[in-house]
Structures are given as structure tokens and as C-alpha cells.
């Protein structure tokens, strides 16, 4: 009757290179409180949200950053697949107003793609500061596509952008594939291959080649490939010639749209960049940044001050009142499930909220600050040569540093690495030698009794990281990785950006991790109730004895598999009761840090790398953990220990 039919919301795909403010614009379009979790370092997974502004309602999809449709990394392939799959979606191409000549080649590819298209000319503030703001209206006229100037960090232009996206239509083909490239693709397009797929197939993209062969037939495809090789020599020759032709089109397009800048971005910024990039000054600065940002802020403030405050709250108020409330429950096991030593509230929620939340939140805050000001690509450049020895490239810095926050999230982010070999090595090192923030907090807490113990522990971790990385690089076949990266200008971090990034990561973390905390509590509770826990602990006792630890440490290792930091916390209790000496503590801390990753990280390894790799990493990590733990304990005792 009168019930108005709700129209299906439009779909908008956000597309653009890394570092042009794509995620910030996504936040502006969907609001900070959208139920979406955006993804780290770079948006690795396709992220969705709902935009309701300027009287429009649309599902917005944020895609991983890409420079061109000719994908190099897995994340670029993810973005392109989304683009080709969503044929009726509107594309919002976010370009860098200050570097239009670099952004527009992708715009031309998107025009050729044929989806309804709007260009968001972002970072207008940076372009204005340089006195080189582009003539947006003129650009729109030349491209034949609406162009809206935006500043994602302040929200400028976001409503007009939404309105333009709602009204967007497919562009006319004026700037599609230029001749003579179009002539070559025409044969395939006439056989109903997508023009963009045909272009990418001829440029050497395997995925698109398969697709085009499927649609247009093997004969037509082979003929086009042979013609290409006759004219341009190879797929690469074709790709370079086409990119060069597109660049010329872009330069012609931009005549009169951008004035030459009035001023350079300033001597001071370039001088600072020189300090950051020269190994002589850059490496000491890395040490300073790591010390203050991670050790003092995350370790001291997050893991120290905040954890103490929240733990006190639990011990004084929440624990006792939960225990009082559950005292009314008639069945003892049920009482234990809620408030026992492994209870959902007393163990699961308390660990999650009192220990992990403050540490992880401060870590993500610091990480977002470093990310937003543009420091991470510079760190990548500085460490590239060192990481090459381990079969990685500077690019791996981002997942590796993120691993100090959450190894599970970092394992997902290894997708940004280029080759399978790099992803494997990074996955192994993350599982083995990089302690996550929850674990770091507890381990450093245990070892705080002795500076020597902390030093030995840290040296062993660094040694294992380097040796295992080097061995993996030598053992795994494949080409050494290459390093290439755009260095975004150094910027003052935007508070809003930093808070959004921190908030979305903390939310992701809790959605992924809190259920596992609770599950771990239930498993431990059930294990104790059925006696399985005692039996499993009994089986571990000989191993634990062999590396010189008291039998009680066995249960700590068992919890360690459920959550690495549970295990560490178990040792914390042993140390407090004086059951472990300094040598024993160091042995235990080394073993538990190198020991198998938590269940969440294991599941992520299986999802990203397959069950075989996950099990292999598990076996390797367990062996190395116990071997190194035992060796360290033996060595300390052999030299007479320390007091």
C-alpha cells in the first residue's frame, strides 16, 4: 500500500594510489562510527561502509592502493579484481592534486574501463600551499568526467563529491585506449573481451590473458599476441610504449590546468629528509624513535602505567563483585567458568581488557602516528639492504613492525609483499622471533628483575631473527626481491587520521581476538574439569625438565599455545612465587617468546599461506624455541649464572 520501496543503495568503489588519502576520504564519506574495520598499513582487504550524506545513501568500498591497473602485488590484484567484478558500481578515483601527472594515467585507464566515474582531486591543501592548485573545472571539461576538489583531512569538498558520485554516468570514450594500441585490442574487444582486460592481457598480465582467452578464444588471442610481438617486441615493450603514450596524453591534458608551483616544499623539509635517509644520521634516529615510541610509550606508559591502573580496578572492584555474585550459583564448575582461575571474567575478559587493551591501543596509536607522518617508507628505505640479506626487501618493514603490535594482523599484511618467497619468510619470522605487544608487556614484566636477563633475551631474539632469516633466504628458491617505493612528503600527522586508524585497528583486533580469549578460557576450564589439562601438562613435563625448568612451567607453555601472553603470564606467577631463578626466567622467557604463535596467528597463517606452511612453521618454531631456551639456560648456568 503506502509502504515506499527502499531503492537498492548505489555502490561506490574508492580507487587510488597509496598515500593520496584514500582511507581518510573513506572515513569522511562513511563517518568514523561506521561499523567497518579498515585495514592496516595499507588497506589490504576490501573494506565496506555506508555513506549517508548530501541526501545520498551508498555502499562505499575501499580498495587497496594501486598505481595502475597492471598489478604487481597481490593487494593490487585484489583491488583490480574488485574493480572488474563490480560492473555496475560507480568508481571514485582519488588523485593527488599536487601530483596530477602521476595520478591521471590511472584515470585514463578507468575511463577506458567504462564504469560511471568521478575524480576526487584530493590534497588540495598541499597543492594550494605550494601555489599550484589545479583548475578543477578545466580538468573536468578536458576529461569529460566530473572532478571535485577535496581535502579529506578537513572534510572540504566531501558533500559535493558525494553528490557528484550519485549523479555520475559512464564517461564517453574520448580518452580511452589510444591508437595504435586500440587497433590491436579491437580484434579481442569485438569478440566481447572487456577493453581493459584486452589491454592488460596484451601488456602481459597473466590473469587477464586467461580471462581474455576464455572469452575471445585462443586463436584470436594468439593472433593479437603475435601481432603485438611483431610490433613492440614483447608484452613489456607494449606496456612501456602504452604507458609512455598515456603520459603524453596526460601532459597535453594538464596544459593550463596546473601552473608551475610558486615555491618548492621548502628547504627545511628537504633537509629533514636528508637527515632521515642518510644511514649516518638515519640509523641513530631509528634507534631513538624505537626507544621513545615503543619502549617508553608502549612499554612504559601502555604496559606499565595503564595496565597497573586497569588491573587495580579489576582486582579491587570487578573481581570481588563478580565472585560475590557467582557465589549464589549452586554448581561449582559453573561458578568456576565465570569467576574461577580460568574463568571467563577473571581470566578471559580481565586479560583482554586489563593487559592487552592498553598495550595494543598505545602500540596502534604510535604506529598510526609514524604512518601518518610518512616515516614508515623512510624506515623501509633505510633497512632495505639489511633485509635483503634475509630474503626480504624494505617493504617488509611494515608487516614486521606491525608484528610488534599484533602478529596475526601482521601476517595478514604480508600480502603487500611481492613474491611468495618474501611472504613465506616474513610469516616465519613473525611467528618465531617477533614478540607481539601483549607478550612483550608480560615478558618484560617478568624480566624486569634483572637487566642482564632482558639483555640476553633481546640478544637471543635478534640472533634468531637474523640467523633464521638468512637460512630461509638461502634455502628457499626464487629471485631476490626488489625494492621500490614512493616516498610521500613528510607531513604533520593529522589527529583525526591517527585516531581513526587507531580506532579501526583496535576494533579489528578485538573483534578477532576477544572471542579467542573467551574460547581459551572455556577450553582451559573444560580441560581442568575433565582432567585433560593435567594429563597434557604431565606429557610436557619431561620436555620442560630437559631445558632446566621446574615442572610447574609446563602448564604455562600449554596456555602459551592458546595465547602466547597467557603462557608468559603463567611464568609471571611462578617468578613471583620464587619458583624460578634468573637463569630459569631467561630460559622460560626465550622459549615462550619463540614458541608457537597463538591460535589466532596460526589460523591466519593457514588462511593466508595454507595448512602445510602453517604446520611447518609451527614445527620449526617449537623446535627452535625449546632448543634455544635449553641452550641459553645451560650457558647461563655453565658460566656460573648471575645474581
Amino acid at each position: 500500500m503506502g509502504a515506499s520501496r527502499v531503492p537498492r543503495p548505489a555502490r561506490w568503489l574508492l580507487v587510488g594510489a597509496p598515500n593520496v588519502g584514500k582511507s581518510a576520504l573513506f572515513g569522511r564519506l562513511t563517518g568514523i562510527y561506521s561499523t567497518v574495520s579498515n585495514y592496516p598499513g595499507t588497506s589490504v582487504e576490501i573494506v565496506r561502509g555506508r555513506a549517508t550524506l548530501a541526501g545520498v545513501c551508498a555502499d562505499v568500498v575501499d580498495t587497496p592502493g594501486m598505481h595502475t591497473l597492471l598489478a604487481v602485488t597481490e593487494e593490487e590484484r585484489v583491488a583490480r579484481r574488485a574493480l572488474l567484478a563490480e560492473a555496475d558500481a560507480t568508481v571514485i578515483h582519488i588523485v593527488d592534486a599536487a601530483h596530477l601527472e602521476r595520478s591521471l594515467p590511472l584515470t585514463l585507464q578507468l575511463i577506458a574501463l567504462g564504469h560511471p566515474l568521478v575524480v576526487a582531486c584530493n590534497l588540495m591543501d598541499e597543492a594550494r600551499r605550494r601555489g599550484a592548485a589545479p583548475e578543477v573545472a578545466l580538468l573536468a571539461e578536458r576529461l569529460g568526467v566530473p572532478v571535485v576538489g577535496t581535502v579529506a583531512t578537513t572534510g572540504e569538498g566531501v558533500e559535493p563529491l558525494a553528490a557528484a558520485a550519485a549523479a555520475a554516468v559512464s564517461p564517453s570514450d574520448g580518452w580511452g585506449l589510444p591508437e595504435p594500441f586500440a587497433a590491436l585490442a579491437r580484434g579481442l574487444v569485438e569478440r566481447r573481451a572487456l577493453p581493459v582486460a584486452a589491454e592488460l592481457a596484451l601488456a602481459g598480465d597473466e590473469e587477464c590473458l586467461q580471462q581474455v582467452r576464455g572469452v575471445a578464444g585462443a586463436d584470436a588471442t594468439e593472433a593479437a599476441v603475435a601481432e603485438r610481438d611483431g610490433r613492440w617486441g614483447s608484452a613489456e615493450g607494449f606496456a612501456v610504449a602504452l604507458a609512455t603514450a598515456r603520459r603524453r596524453m596526460v601532459l597535453a591534458l594538464l596544459a593550463g590546468v596546473v601552473a608551475p608551483p610558486e615555491r618548492d616544499e621548502g628547504r627545511r623539509r628537504r633537509a629533514l629528509d636528508r637527515l632521515l635517509l642518510s644511514p649516518w644520521t638515519g640509523l641513530p634516529l631509528v634507534a631513538l624513535v624505537l626507544y621513545f615510541a615503543f619502549y617508553r610509550l608502549v612499554g612504559g606508559f601502555g604496559a606499565g602505567v595503564l595496565v597497573d591502573q586497569i588491573e587495580t580496578l579489576f582486582e579491587r572492584w570487578i573481581g570481588p563483585s563478580v565472585r560475590q555474585a557467582t557465589a549464589l550459583v549452586p554448581w561449582a564448575p559453573l561458578r568456576d567458568l565465570i569467576a574461577g582461575p580460568y574463568g571467563l571474567v577473571t581470566l578471559g575478559v580481565r586479560y583482554a581488557v586489563a593487559i592487552v587493551l592498553p598495550i595494543v591501543t598505545t602500540f596502534f596509536l604510535v604506529f598510526a602516528l609514524l604512518e601518518d607522518c610518512g616515516y614508515l617508507p623512510r624506515l623501509a628505505l633505510l633497512l632495505d639492504r639489511a633485509l635483503k640479506r634475509l630474503g626480504l626487501s624494505g617493504r617488509a618493514v611494515i608487516p614486521l613492525v606491525l608484528g610488534f603490535g599484533c602478529g596475526t594482523m601482521a601476517t595478514l599484511v604480508t600480502r603487500t609483499l611481492e613474491t611468495r618467497r618474501e611472504r613465506l619468510i616474513a610469516t616465519l619470522l613473525l611467528a618465531l622471533a617477533i614478540p607481539c605487544s601483549a607478550q612483550l608487556g608480560v615478558v618484560l614484566g617478568i624480566l624486569s628483575v634483572s637487566a642482564a636477563a632482558v639483555t640476553v633475551w633481546a640478544l637471543v631474539l635478534v640472533l634468531v631473527f637474523l640467523v633464521v632469516g638468512r637460512l630461509a633466504a638461502l634455502a628457499l628458491p626464487g629471485r631476490p626481491p626488489s625494492f621500490y617505493m614512493e616516498l610521500p612528503p613528510l607531513r604533520w600527522p593529522s589527529l583525526r587520521n591517527v585516531l581513526i586508524k587507531t580506532g579501526t585497528r583496535v576494533r579489528w583486533y578485538f573483534a578477532e581476538i576477544l572471542p579467542l580469549f573467551l574460547l581459551a578460557s572455556v577450553l582451559l576450564w573444560a580441560g581442568e574439569l575433565t582432567g585433560l589439562l593435567t594429563r597434557a601438562t604431565g606429557a610436557l613435563v619431561p620436555v620442560v625438565r630437559a631445558i632446566g625448568l621446574p615442572p610447574a612451567a609446563a602448564s604455562a607453555f600449554l596456555y602459551g599455545f592458546l595465547r602466547r601472553d597467557f603462557g608468559a603470564a603463567g611464568l609471571y606467577d611462578l617468578a613471583r612465587h620464587g619458583a624460578l631463578d634468573a637463569a630459569g626466567l631467561t630460559t622460560a622467557a626465550v622459549t615462550i617468546t619463540l614458541f608457537v604463535p597463538c591460535v589466532a596467528q596460526f589460523l591466519m597463517m593457514r588462511k593466508e599461506r595454507g595448512l602445510g606452511v602453517a604446520l611447518t612453521v609451527l614445527a620449526v618454531a617449537t623446535t627452535i624455541a625449546f632448543a634455544m631456551g635449553g641452550a641459553v639456560g645451560w650457558l647461563i648456568r655453565a658460566v656460573g649464572g648471575w645474581s
Binding site: R102, V240, A243, R274, S278, P480, S482, Y484, E486, P489
Partner: protein, 97 residues
């Protein structure tokens, strides 16, 4: 500096003898502070070429070497990009005079 072939001092961009002729030199061989125009990419390098294209390195682009160590840092227009020596060896440039 003058061109050894035609004696012109105006550089290879807009070569006065009009030929597509220049002394090819690898990008990796440039010193810090030197400027050059990309002339061609070594097509034998296959997949590496896509990375160079993703960085915006293609024929006709002007670059200035900002530093060579620990990796090559180039200014291209107002963008700054970094790449390692192996990739830089696939880029051939004509040095600006």
C-alpha cells in the same frame, strides 16, 4: 659539457641533429645531484618493468638523483621515489647537460 657526437651543449632533449640518438647510460650510474631524462627501459627485465611503470619511470620523464645510498632516491617533478640498484640498472637515461 658538450655532446661528443654533434658538439651541441644544449643536451639531448631536443637533440639538434634531430636523431633519436643519445649516449645511453644506466640510471644507477648517475651521481647524486645529476639530472637526466629517461630514454628507454630494458625490456628483457620482464616483470621488473611493471614496477618501474608503477613508480612512474618511463621514457620522457625527467629525474634528479637525490641520493644513491642506501637506495637510489629520485625526484620526479614534485614526487620522490626510491628504488634499489638492481631496478635502477634496467633504466637507461640521457644525462642532462
Amino acid at each position: 659539457m658538450k655532446c661528443t657526437m654533434c658538439g651541441s651543449a644544449s643536451g639531448c632533449t631536443g637533440c639538434p641533429i634531430g636523431a633519436d640518438f643519445y649516449v645511453a647510460q644506466s640510471l644507477g650510474g648517475l651521481e647524486a645531484g645529476e639530472r637526466a631524462v629517461v630514454r628507454h627501459l630494458d625490456a628483457r627485465r620482464g616483470a621488473d618493468l611493471r614496477k618501474l611503470l608503477a613508480l612512474g619511470l618511463m621514457p620522457g620523464v625527467e629525474v634528479e638523483v637525490e641520493r644513491r645510498w642506501p637506495a637510489l632516491v629520485l625526484r620526479m617533478g614534485y614526487a620522490t621515489v626510491a628504488l634499489d640498484a638492481e631496478l635502477a640498472d634496467a633504466v637507461f637515461v640521457a644525462r642532462a647537460v
